[in-house]
């Protein structure tokens, strides 16, 4: 039962802070609320017995991505309040769209259930050891490819960020 309460708590915090990401006027606040969201999500991962993911999640999102966002805000001096707002109609439309997609997603996914349980002995899949085994055997090729993706992303970012000589 405890886990159920924890789940509700974490979910509530996540959703509230996610909403706050959108509602805050200043970008910097949005970034901070987003950070909070990521932390609560990490909590969810732990609850799902996916410890490795939780750790990676913290490192990647809270550590790297958020820092990038913060740097961007800082460097470009973007922390201006309410500079541009969409019209109310657009916001309304957006809200409706969001609501509809929520309903439709639930409608689509609700029928899903865990019909076939995989190998029941594989209980500790979230641990580094088990995950690593899968990753380096079955998914070796995509794993290596993702490193190339990273490399090219890095090169791309550097290229784009570089100031024009002229």
């Amino acid at each position: 039962m405890l886990s159920l309460y924890v789940f509700f708590f974490l979910s509530a915090v996540t959703l509230v802070s996610a909403v706050m990401v959108l509602l805050s006027k200043k970008p910097i606040h949005s970034v901070l609320y987003l950070t909070l969201t990521f932390f609560t999500l990490a909590g969810h991962y732990i609850m799902l017995n996916a410890q490795f993911l939780a750790v990676v999640h913290i490192i990647v999102y809270a550590g790297a991505i958020m820092v990038l966002f913060l740097f961007t805000v800082m460097l470009l001096n973007l922390n201006i309040e309410g500079e541009f707002q969409k019209s109310t109609v657009m916001k309304f439309v957006a809200a409706i769209a969001g609501g509809m997609i929520f309903l439709v997603l639930i409608g689509t996914l609700k029928s899903f259930d865990v019909t076939t349980v995989g190998d029941p002995s594989m209980t500790q899949i979230g641990l580094v050891k088990n995950l690593g085994k899968t990753l380096y055997s079955q998914y070796l090729m995509p794993f290596e490819l993702s490193s190339i993706l990273f490399l090219s992303a890095m090169v791309g970012a550097v290229m784009l960020g570089k100031k024009d000589k002229n």
Binding site: L15, T37, I65, L76, A94, G98, K110, I125, N130
Partner: protein
Amino acid sequence: METTVAQIQVIPLQYYIIFCSALFSIGVIGVLAKRNALVIFMSVELMLNSANLLLAAFSAYRNDPAGQIFVFFIMVVAAAEVAIGLALLVVVYRSTKTIDINALNRLKW
């Protein structure tokens, strides 16, 4: 070890589905309602994360590591995407002095 699974399954899978859908919808609303490119990026992150969480949930309920592996890859892609995306944002800002997406309408007919 059976207990771990049982313990997880105290929470019905439907809860995760509803929660993740809600989070995803918030992301969608953000993308649609905001004009600030930076916030739109963040909303995209929200969507990615909701998908991640759902994958992890399915993975745990099905005892299948593939789901978690995919989460892992999605993180990789997300990280790369943010790096490139923010770099693009910087470039855009340099040329237009704003990050309002409505300024980026050069592609119209």
